[in-house]
Symmetry: C2
Subunit: 218 residues, 2 copies
Amino acid sequence: MSRTIRIEKKILEANNIIAERNRKRFAEEGIMVVNIMSSPGSGKTTLLEKSIALLSDRINIGVIEGDIATDKDAVRVEEAGAKWVTQINTGGTCHLEAGMIEQAMEDMPKGLDLLIIENIGNLICPVGMDLGEEIKIMLSSITEGMDKPKKYPGIYRACKVLVVNKVDLAPMVDVDPDALVTESLEVNPQLKVFKTSARTGEGVDDWCEWLLSISKKG
Amino acid sequence: MSRTIRIEKKILEANNIIAERNRKRFAEEGIMVVNIMSSPGSGKTTLLEKSIALLSDRINIGVIEGDIATDKDAVRVEEAGAKWVTQINTGGTCHLEAGMIEQAMEDMPKGLDLLIIENIGNLICPVGMDLGEEIKIMLSSITEGMDKPKKYPGIYRACKVLVVNKVDLAPMVDVDPDALVTESLEVNPQLKVFKTSARTGEGVDDWCEWLLSISKKG
Protein backbone atom coordinates (compact mmCIF):
# COMPACT_ATOMS: atom_id res chain seq x y z
CA MET A 1 0.00 0.00 0.00
CA SER A 2 1.32 3.45 -0.85
CA ARG A 3 1.76 5.97 1.92
CA THR A 4 -1.28 8.22 2.32
CA ILE A 5 -1.40 11.17 4.63
CA ARG A 6 -4.95 12.07 5.43
CA ILE A 7 -5.74 15.25 7.25
CA GLU A 8 -9.32 14.76 8.22
CA LYS A 9 -10.20 18.39 8.78
CA LYS A 10 -8.72 19.41 5.44
CA ILE A 11 -10.60 16.62 3.67
CA LEU A 12 -13.88 17.75 5.22
CA GLU A 13 -13.11 21.41 4.42
CA ALA A 14 -12.29 20.51 0.81
CA ASN A 15 -15.45 18.41 0.62
CA ASN A 16 -17.54 21.29 1.93
CA ILE A 17 -16.11 23.73 -0.62
CA ILE A 18 -17.10 21.40 -3.46
CA ALA A 19 -20.47 20.68 -1.81
CA GLU A 20 -21.21 24.43 -1.82
CA ARG A 21 -20.23 24.58 -5.51
CA ASN A 22 -22.62 21.68 -6.21
CA ARG A 23 -25.37 23.39 -4.19
CA LYS A 24 -24.94 26.60 -6.18
CA ARG A 25 -25.20 24.71 -9.48
CA PHE A 26 -28.34 22.88 -8.30
CA ALA A 27 -29.95 26.21 -7.33
CA GLU A 28 -29.00 27.87 -10.63
CA GLU A 29 -30.43 24.99 -12.65
CA GLY A 30 -33.53 24.68 -10.48
CA ILE A 31 -32.98 21.07 -9.44
CA MET A 32 -34.13 19.59 -6.14
CA VAL A 33 -31.47 17.17 -4.92
CA VAL A 34 -31.94 14.41 -2.34
CA ASN A 35 -29.33 12.08 -0.85
CA ILE A 36 -30.75 8.65 0.04
CA MET A 37 -28.86 6.53 2.59
CA SER A 38 -29.44 3.13 4.22
CA SER A 39 -27.98 -0.25 5.11
CA PRO A 40 -27.09 -2.53 2.21
CA GLY A 41 -30.17 -4.29 0.85
CA SER A 42 -32.84 -2.12 2.45
CA GLY A 43 -34.59 -1.64 -0.89
CA LYS A 44 -33.37 1.80 -2.03
CA THR A 45 -33.05 0.82 -5.68
CA THR A 46 -36.36 -1.06 -5.79
CA LEU A 47 -38.13 1.97 -4.29
CA LEU A 48 -36.43 4.22 -6.86
CA GLU A 49 -37.46 1.93 -9.73
CA LYS A 50 -41.11 2.05 -8.62
CA SER A 51 -41.01 5.81 -7.96
CA ILE A 52 -39.39 6.69 -11.28
CA ALA A 53 -41.85 4.51 -13.19
CA LEU A 54 -44.72 6.41 -11.52
CA LEU A 55 -43.23 9.90 -11.90
CA SER A 56 -41.23 9.89 -15.13
CA ASP A 57 -44.05 11.26 -17.29
CA ARG A 58 -44.58 14.18 -14.88
CA ILE A 59 -41.04 15.28 -13.97
CA ASN A 60 -37.53 14.76 -15.32
CA ILE A 61 -35.61 12.63 -12.85
CA GLY A 62 -31.84 12.15 -12.77
CA VAL A 63 -30.07 9.57 -10.62
CA ILE A 64 -26.49 9.24 -9.41
CA GLU A 65 -25.86 5.70 -8.17
CA GLY A 66 -23.08 5.07 -5.66
CA ASP A 67 -21.67 1.57 -5.26
CA ILE A 68 -18.40 -0.09 -4.39
CA ALA A 69 -18.62 -2.14 -7.60
CA THR A 70 -20.95 -3.00 -10.55
CA ASP A 71 -23.41 -0.85 -12.55
CA LYS A 72 -26.43 -3.03 -11.69
CA ASP A 73 -28.38 -0.22 -10.02
CA ALA A 74 -27.77 2.29 -12.82
CA VAL A 75 -29.13 -0.20 -15.36
CA ARG A 76 -32.24 -0.77 -13.22
CA VAL A 77 -33.18 2.90 -12.73
CA GLU A 78 -32.45 3.72 -16.36
CA GLU A 79 -34.84 0.98 -17.45
CA ALA A 80 -37.43 2.39 -15.05
CA GLY A 81 -37.38 5.70 -16.96
CA ALA A 82 -34.81 7.99 -15.37
CA LYS A 83 -33.90 10.81 -17.76
CA TRP A 84 -30.20 10.71 -16.86
CA VAL A 85 -28.22 8.19 -14.82
CA THR A 86 -24.58 8.01 -13.80
CA GLN A 87 -22.99 5.21 -11.82
CA ILE A 88 -20.14 6.00 -9.44
CA ASN A 89 -17.98 3.02 -8.44
CA THR A 90 -15.89 3.98 -5.43
CA GLY A 91 -13.67 0.89 -5.50
CA GLY A 92 -13.53 0.49 -1.77
CA THR A 93 -14.55 3.86 -0.40
CA CYS A 94 -17.40 3.58 2.07
CA HIS A 95 -19.29 6.80 1.21
CA LEU A 96 -19.85 9.31 -1.58
CA GLU A 97 -18.04 12.66 -1.52
CA ALA A 98 -18.96 16.01 -3.07
CA GLY A 99 -16.10 15.74 -5.59
CA MET A 100 -17.49 12.45 -6.91
CA ILE A 101 -20.85 14.14 -7.47
CA GLU A 102 -19.23 17.12 -9.21
CA GLN A 103 -17.39 14.75 -11.53
CA ALA A 104 -20.52 12.68 -12.17
CA MET A 105 -22.39 15.84 -13.18
CA GLU A 106 -20.00 16.67 -16.02
CA ASP A 107 -22.46 15.36 -18.63
CA MET A 108 -25.66 16.12 -16.70
CA PRO A 109 -28.25 17.62 -19.08
CA LYS A 110 -30.26 20.78 -18.39
CA GLY A 111 -33.90 20.47 -17.48
CA LEU A 112 -33.88 17.95 -14.61
CA ASP A 113 -36.48 18.60 -11.90
CA LEU A 114 -35.25 16.10 -9.34
CA LEU A 115 -31.82 14.55 -8.84
CA ILE A 116 -31.70 11.51 -6.59
CA ILE A 117 -28.33 10.47 -5.21
CA GLU A 118 -28.31 6.86 -3.98
CA ASN A 119 -25.43 6.60 -1.52
CA ILE A 120 -23.30 3.55 -0.62
CA GLY A 121 -25.11 1.03 1.64
CA ASN A 122 -23.72 2.10 5.02
CA LEU A 123 -25.37 3.65 8.11
CA ILE A 124 -22.27 5.41 9.37
CA CYS A 125 -19.70 6.82 6.95
CA PRO A 126 -21.92 8.71 4.45
CA VAL A 127 -23.60 10.73 7.21
CA GLY A 128 -20.95 13.43 7.68
CA MET A 129 -20.29 14.05 3.99
CA ASP A 130 -22.22 16.98 2.57
CA LEU A 131 -22.79 16.39 -1.17
CA GLY A 132 -24.59 19.70 -1.78
CA GLU A 133 -28.00 18.05 -1.50
CA GLU A 134 -31.03 19.83 -0.04
CA ILE A 135 -32.56 16.87 1.82
CA LYS A 136 -31.03 13.78 3.41
CA ILE A 137 -33.37 10.78 3.41
CA MET A 138 -32.87 7.40 5.02
CA LEU A 139 -34.47 4.04 4.41
CA SER A 140 -34.85 1.57 7.24
CA SER A 141 -35.98 -1.92 6.33
CA ILE A 142 -38.42 -3.52 8.76
CA THR A 143 -36.33 -6.70 8.57
CA GLU A 144 -33.40 -4.90 10.24
CA GLY A 145 -35.28 -4.97 13.54
CA MET A 146 -36.26 -2.47 16.21
CA ASP A 147 -32.92 -1.40 17.60
CA LYS A 148 -31.33 0.54 14.74
CA PRO A 149 -32.46 4.09 15.70
CA LYS A 150 -30.76 3.84 19.10
CA LYS A 151 -27.74 1.93 17.77
CA TYR A 152 -27.08 4.29 14.82
CA PRO A 153 -28.42 7.63 16.13
CA GLY A 154 -26.19 9.78 13.90
CA ILE A 155 -27.94 8.98 10.65
CA TYR A 156 -31.41 9.31 12.19
CA ARG A 157 -30.49 12.80 13.45
CA ALA A 158 -28.93 13.89 10.13
CA CYS A 159 -32.00 13.03 8.04
CA LYS A 160 -35.22 14.98 7.52
CA VAL A 161 -37.12 12.02 6.13
CA LEU A 162 -37.38 8.35 7.13
CA VAL A 163 -38.83 5.70 4.86
CA VAL A 164 -39.68 2.50 6.74
CA ASN A 165 -39.54 -0.04 3.91
CA LYS A 166 -40.55 -3.72 3.52
CA VAL A 167 -43.59 -3.24 5.77
CA ASP A 168 -45.19 -6.25 4.03
CA LEU A 169 -42.70 -8.43 5.94
CA ALA A 170 -43.57 -6.97 9.36
CA PRO A 171 -45.72 -9.93 10.53
CA MET A 172 -42.98 -12.39 9.55
CA VAL A 173 -40.25 -10.66 11.57
CA ASP A 174 -42.30 -9.62 14.60
CA VAL A 175 -41.54 -5.94 14.14
CA ASP A 176 -44.39 -3.44 14.44
CA PRO A 177 -43.82 -0.59 11.94
CA ASP A 178 -45.52 1.91 14.25
CA ALA A 179 -43.29 0.93 17.15
CA LEU A 180 -40.24 1.33 14.90
CA VAL A 181 -41.47 4.80 13.95
CA THR A 182 -41.86 5.67 17.64
CA GLU A 183 -38.28 4.49 18.34
CA SER A 184 -37.05 6.62 15.41
CA LEU A 185 -38.92 9.73 16.56
CA GLU A 186 -37.37 9.36 20.02
CA VAL A 187 -33.99 9.87 18.35
CA ASN A 188 -35.20 12.61 15.97
CA PRO A 189 -38.69 14.05 16.61
CA GLN A 190 -38.49 16.14 13.41
CA LEU A 191 -38.47 13.15 11.04
CA LYS A 192 -41.11 13.07 8.32
CA VAL A 193 -42.04 9.39 8.00
CA PHE A 194 -43.30 7.21 5.16
CA LYS A 195 -44.15 3.52 5.45
CA THR A 196 -43.68 1.57 2.23
CA SER A 197 -43.25 -1.79 0.63
CA ALA A 198 -41.35 -1.12 -2.56
CA ARG A 199 -42.06 -4.73 -3.56
CA THR A 200 -45.86 -4.71 -3.20
CA GLY A 201 -46.29 -0.99 -3.91
CA GLU A 202 -47.89 -0.25 -0.51
CA GLY A 203 -47.33 3.38 0.49
CA VAL A 204 -45.37 4.19 -2.66
CA ASP A 205 -48.05 6.61 -3.94
CA ASP A 206 -47.78 8.85 -0.85
CA TRP A 207 -44.01 8.84 -1.08
CA CYS A 208 -44.17 9.75 -4.78
CA GLU A 209 -46.64 12.57 -4.14
CA TRP A 210 -44.17 14.00 -1.67
CA LEU A 211 -41.26 13.63 -4.12
CA LEU A 212 -43.37 15.47 -6.68
CA SER A 213 -44.19 18.22 -4.19
CA ILE A 214 -40.54 18.92 -3.35
CA SER A 215 -39.38 18.83 -6.99
CA LYS A 216 -39.18 22.25 -8.53
CA LYS A 217 -42.26 21.55 -10.66
CA GLY A 218 -44.21 20.33 -7.62
CA MET B 1 -13.81 19.70 15.16
CA SER B 2 -10.24 19.43 16.36
CA ARG B 3 -7.49 18.93 13.85
CA THR B 4 -6.64 15.29 13.32
CA ILE B 5 -3.76 14.09 11.26
CA ARG B 6 -4.32 10.55 10.11
CA ILE B 7 -1.56 8.62 8.50
CA GLU B 8 -3.35 5.62 7.12
CA LYS B 9 -0.34 3.37 6.72
CA LYS B 10 0.82 4.05 10.23
CA ILE B 11 -2.64 3.39 11.63
CA LEU B 12 -2.79 0.03 9.86
CA GLU B 13 0.75 -0.82 10.99
CA ALA B 14 -0.11 0.06 14.58
CA ASN B 15 -3.31 -1.98 14.33
CA ASN B 16 -1.41 -4.98 13.01
CA ILE B 17 1.13 -4.85 15.84
CA ILE B 18 -1.68 -4.97 18.41
CA ALA B 19 -3.53 -7.65 16.39
CA GLU B 20 -0.43 -9.85 16.57
CA ARG B 21 -0.27 -9.27 20.33
CA ASN B 22 -3.94 -10.30 20.62
CA ARG B 23 -3.30 -13.37 18.44
CA LYS B 24 -0.42 -14.44 20.67
CA ARG B 25 -2.57 -14.12 23.78
CA PHE B 26 -5.39 -16.13 22.19
CA ALA B 27 -2.91 -18.91 21.27
CA GLU B 28 -1.35 -18.94 24.74
CA GLU B 29 -4.75 -19.18 26.42
CA GLY B 30 -6.07 -21.74 23.92
CA ILE B 31 -9.03 -19.67 22.73
CA MET B 32 -10.49 -19.90 19.23
CA VAL B 33 -11.49 -16.40 18.12
CA VAL B 34 -13.91 -15.52 15.33
CA ASN B 35 -14.83 -12.09 13.97
CA ILE B 36 -18.42 -11.89 12.69
CA MET B 37 -19.31 -9.14 10.22
CA SER B 38 -22.46 -8.16 8.30
CA SER B 39 -24.83 -5.35 7.35
CA PRO B 40 -26.86 -3.80 10.17
CA GLY B 41 -29.85 -5.96 11.06
CA SER B 42 -28.80 -9.19 9.36
CA GLY B 43 -29.40 -11.19 12.52
CA LYS B 44 -25.92 -11.59 14.01
CA THR B 45 -27.05 -11.13 17.60
CA THR B 46 -30.11 -13.37 17.25
CA LEU B 47 -27.91 -16.12 15.79
CA LEU B 48 -25.46 -15.68 18.67
CA GLU B 49 -28.25 -15.87 21.25
CA LYS B 50 -29.51 -19.16 19.78
CA SER B 51 -25.99 -20.56 19.41
CA ILE B 52 -24.88 -19.67 22.91
CA ALA B 53 -28.06 -21.15 24.40
CA LEU B 54 -27.31 -24.42 22.57
CA LEU B 55 -23.58 -24.53 23.35
CA SER B 56 -23.12 -22.91 26.75
CA ASP B 57 -23.24 -26.19 28.70
CA ARG B 58 -20.56 -27.72 26.45
CA ILE B 59 -18.02 -24.90 26.00
CA ASN B 60 -17.21 -21.59 27.65
CA ILE B 61 -18.11 -18.80 25.24
CA GLY B 62 -17.02 -15.18 25.52
CA VAL B 63 -18.43 -12.36 23.40
CA ILE B 64 -17.15 -8.91 22.55
CA GLU B 65 -19.98 -6.78 21.14
CA GLY B 66 -19.17 -3.83 18.88
CA ASP B 67 -21.73 -1.08 18.38
CA ILE B 68 -21.82 2.65 17.77
CA ALA B 69 -24.11 3.05 20.79
CA THR B 70 -26.12 1.09 23.40
CA ASP B 71 -25.39 -2.15 25.27
CA LYS B 72 -28.51 -3.93 23.98
CA ASP B 73 -26.57 -6.74 22.31
CA ALA B 74 -24.34 -7.41 25.31
CA VAL B 75 -27.41 -7.79 27.52
CA ARG B 76 -28.97 -10.24 25.04
CA VAL B 77 -25.96 -12.58 24.72
CA GLU B 78 -25.30 -12.49 28.45
CA GLU B 79 -28.88 -13.58 29.10
CA ALA B 80 -28.39 -16.37 26.55
CA GLY B 81 -25.57 -17.81 28.67
CA ALA B 82 -22.29 -16.32 27.52
CA LYS B 83 -19.58 -16.82 30.17
CA TRP B 84 -18.08 -13.36 29.66
CA VAL B 85 -19.36 -10.37 27.67
CA THR B 86 -17.94 -6.94 27.00
CA GLN B 87 -19.65 -4.21 25.01
CA ILE B 88 -17.52 -1.79 23.00
CA ASN B 89 -19.25 1.47 22.02
CA THR B 90 -17.21 3.16 19.32
CA GLY B 91 -19.14 6.46 19.44
CA GLY B 92 -19.03 7.00 15.69
CA THR B 93 -16.24 4.76 14.48
CA CYS B 94 -17.40 2.45 11.71
CA HIS B 95 -15.34 -0.65 12.57
CA LEU B 96 -13.58 -2.38 15.47
CA GLU B 97 -9.80 -2.11 15.81
CA ALA B 98 -7.29 -4.42 17.48
CA GLY B 99 -6.62 -1.88 20.24
CA MET B 100 -10.31 -1.87 21.21
CA ILE B 101 -10.20 -5.67 21.52
CA GLU B 102 -7.03 -5.52 23.62
CA GLN B 103 -8.67 -3.04 25.96
CA ALA B 104 -11.89 -5.06 26.13
CA MET B 105 -9.86 -8.14 27.18
CA GLU B 106 -8.44 -6.51 30.27
CA ASP B 107 -10.92 -8.36 32.50
CA MET B 108 -11.30 -11.46 30.33
CA PRO B 109 -11.25 -14.58 32.52
CA LYS B 110 -9.10 -17.66 31.85
CA GLY B 111 -10.77 -20.78 30.52
CA LEU B 112 -12.76 -19.54 27.54
CA ASP B 113 -12.94 -21.99 24.63
CA LEU B 114 -14.45 -19.68 22.05
CA LEU B 115 -14.41 -15.90 21.80
CA ILE B 116 -16.90 -14.39 19.36
CA ILE B 117 -16.34 -10.79 18.28
CA GLU B 118 -19.47 -9.20 16.80
CA ASN B 119 -18.28 -6.33 14.63
CA ILE B 120 -20.11 -3.07 13.77
CA GLY B 121 -22.87 -3.51 11.16
CA ASN B 122 -20.99 -2.47 8.02
CA LEU B 123 -19.93 -4.42 4.90
CA ILE B 124 -16.95 -2.23 4.09
CA CYS B 125 -14.89 -0.65 6.84
CA PRO B 126 -14.33 -3.61 9.22
CA VAL B 127 -12.89 -5.79 6.46
CA GLY B 128 -9.32 -4.47 6.42
CA MET B 129 -8.88 -4.36 10.21
CA ASP B 130 -7.14 -7.42 11.64
CA LEU B 131 -8.29 -7.94 15.24
CA GLY B 132 -6.08 -10.97 15.88
CA GLU B 133 -8.94 -13.38 15.14
CA GLU B 134 -8.38 -16.76 13.51
CA ILE B 135 -11.48 -16.83 11.31
CA LYS B 136 -13.52 -14.05 9.68
CA ILE B 137 -17.20 -14.95 9.24
CA MET B 138 -19.89 -12.97 7.47
CA LEU B 139 -23.66 -13.08 7.68
CA SER B 140 -25.77 -12.22 4.66
CA SER B 141 -29.49 -11.86 5.20
CA ILE B 142 -31.67 -13.27 2.43
CA THR B 143 -33.72 -10.05 2.62
CA GLU B 144 -30.73 -8.02 1.38
CA GLY B 145 -31.19 -9.47 -2.10
CA MET B 146 -29.05 -11.23 -4.66
CA ASP B 147 -26.58 -8.56 -5.65
CA LYS B 148 -24.49 -8.08 -2.50
CA PRO B 149 -21.62 -10.51 -3.33
CA LYS B 150 -20.81 -8.65 -6.55
CA LYS B 151 -21.44 -5.20 -5.05
CA TYR B 152 -19.35 -5.77 -1.89
CA PRO B 153 -16.73 -8.29 -3.09
CA GLY B 154 -14.10 -7.30 -0.52
CA ILE B 155 -15.88 -8.78 2.49
CA TYR B 156 -16.82 -11.97 0.62
CA ARG B 157 -13.15 -12.48 -0.28
CA ALA B 158 -11.87 -11.74 3.23
CA CYS B 159 -14.10 -14.31 4.94
CA LYS B 160 -13.69 -18.07 5.24
CA VAL B 161 -17.30 -18.68 6.23
CA LEU B 162 -20.63 -17.33 4.96
CA VAL B 163 -23.87 -17.71 6.90
CA VAL B 164 -26.91 -17.03 4.72
CA ASN B 165 -29.46 -16.05 7.37
CA LYS B 166 -33.25 -15.45 7.40
CA VAL B 167 -33.81 -18.26 4.89
CA ASP B 168 -37.36 -18.59 6.24
CA LEU B 169 -38.14 -15.30 4.47
CA ALA B 170 -36.82 -16.47 1.08
CA PRO B 171 -40.25 -17.12 -0.50
CA MET B 172 -41.48 -13.67 0.58
CA VAL B 173 -38.59 -11.77 -1.01
CA ASP B 174 -38.15 -13.86 -4.18
CA VAL B 175 -34.55 -14.73 -3.38
CA ASP B 176 -33.41 -18.34 -3.82
CA PRO B 177 -30.86 -19.16 -1.08
CA ASP B 178 -29.02 -21.58 -3.38
CA ALA B 179 -28.73 -18.94 -6.10
CA LEU B 180 -27.35 -16.50 -3.53
CA VAL B 181 -24.80 -19.12 -2.46
CA THR B 182 -23.78 -19.58 -6.11
CA GLU B 183 -23.33 -15.81 -6.51
CA SER B 184 -21.22 -15.76 -3.34
CA LEU B 185 -19.02 -18.66 -4.46
CA GLU B 186 -18.37 -16.87 -7.75
CA VAL B 187 -16.72 -14.12 -5.70
CA ASN B 188 -14.97 -16.51 -3.28
CA PRO B 189 -15.01 -20.24 -4.18
CA GLN B 190 -13.36 -21.14 -0.85
CA LEU B 191 -16.31 -20.04 1.30
CA LYS B 192 -17.73 -22.58 3.73
CA VAL B 193 -21.48 -21.94 3.70
CA PHE B 194 -24.27 -22.37 6.25
CA LYS B 195 -27.94 -21.59 5.61
CA THR B 196 -29.85 -20.58 8.72
CA SER B 197 -32.89 -18.91 10.13
CA ALA B 198 -31.86 -17.66 13.53
CA ARG B 199 -35.53 -16.88 14.20
CA THR B 200 -37.01 -20.33 13.44
CA GLY B 201 -33.86 -22.28 14.35
CA GLU B 202 -33.49 -23.83 10.87
CA GLY B 203 -29.86 -24.73 10.17
CA VAL B 204 -28.67 -23.51 13.57
CA ASP B 205 -27.70 -27.04 14.71
CA ASP B 206 -25.23 -27.50 11.83
CA TRP B 207 -23.73 -24.08 12.46
CA CYS B 208 -23.36 -24.86 16.18
CA GLU B 209 -21.74 -28.23 15.46
CA TRP B 210 -19.18 -26.40 13.37
CA LEU B 211 -18.59 -23.76 16.09
CA LEU B 212 -18.02 -26.62 18.54
CA SER B 213 -15.61 -28.33 16.15
CA ILE B 214 -13.42 -25.24 15.77
CA SER B 215 -13.41 -24.40 19.46
CA LYS B 216 -10.39 -25.72 21.26
CA LYS B 217 -12.48 -28.37 22.98
CA GLY B 218 -14.07 -29.47 19.66
